[in-house]
Amino acid sequence: MAIRTNELMEIISERTLYFLNDEMDIQVEEQEMNLVPGHRLELYYLTTLLTVGGGINVNVIFSYEQRLIEKMFEIYTEEVEVLPEERLEYIEETAGDIINIVVGNSTADFKELEPINLSPPIMISEARNIAKSRSSEFFVNYFHTIHGSMSIFCVGPKHSDGLLDLSDSLEFKEASPGLEDEDEIS
């Protein structure tokens, strides 16, 4: 089964837009969707990663500016008590819940695909960038709001026909916090 990377990106982006507008009441002022040039992409303050597996094999990454994820945390937890000592942990939990909800809800639109499963989300704080292998490609969509920006990346194997063969495995490299832009873990 194959799906175009940009189609996958559009499904997840549409669900993200809906979540921001309808669940968070945060209006997106501008969007930019691109195929990432080069082999490295920059991350914001807090990043979450979730692997879509089963009948599909793609890494989905949400990365947030600090002020945006803090605003989303305030909205997401406004009905429950959060103790001051829980705040940092719960900001990360908020980011994990959001990627889980958005990508999970997106699976309703993957009608022709085989059964797919989602990994529990991984939270990455203070990472500055990630690097891809030659055999993978990044698609990115930036959402800019009055409360800050976030980026969504779909990382999958690169194919010359523009399709992701979703049975392929994916090489994924992550830069460690504190490394300079030129440094790379291989």
Binding site: V80, E93, N100, I101, N105, T107, A108, I116, L118, P120
Partner: protein, 126 residues
């Protein structure tokens, strides 16, 4: 409807807090919380809840397998899937594992109430 003793299974601490608040506002009690499917299976027999809300995507053991194992031991267990996963295949898998209801996250209190009422009315009054 009488007040139910409910077990909440989810790996997100915020979701547990949000679900607990909704469940209490609906007049029920959360008597046990589990953060993995394996914990849910182990704790079910000790608590014997009236109803379980079960996430699907969890570390250790997912909610589909946990539901299957609980229902294998307790055929009358009432389990509602509360998950973000909306793919039709997954909903079918959940029902085949023994789940009696399916609520998509983000959870709304009224949706949760409808699902609880429907299942309790169907299986307790039949």
């Amino acid at each position: 409807m009488r007040s139910l003793n409910i077990m909440v299974v989810d790996d997100s601490a915020i979701t547990i807090k949000k679900l607990t608040k909704m469940i209490e506002e609906l007049g029920h009690s959360v008597v046990q919380v589990a953060k993995t499917g394996r914990d849910a299976v182990e704790q079910y027999s000790a608590v014997n809840p009236d109803l379980v809300t079960m996430d699907i995507t969890m570390p250790d053991m997912d909610g589909i397998e946990a539901t299957r194992q609980i229902r294998a031991q307790y055929k009358d267990a009432l389990i509602i899937m509360v998950t973000s996963h909306g793919q039709e295949h997954m909903i079918i898998d959940a029902i085949e594992s023994g789940a009696l209801g399916y609520v998509i996250k983000p959870v709304k209190k009224e949706k949760l109430r409808e699902s609880i009422d429907r299942i309790v009315n169907k299986f307790w009054n039949s």
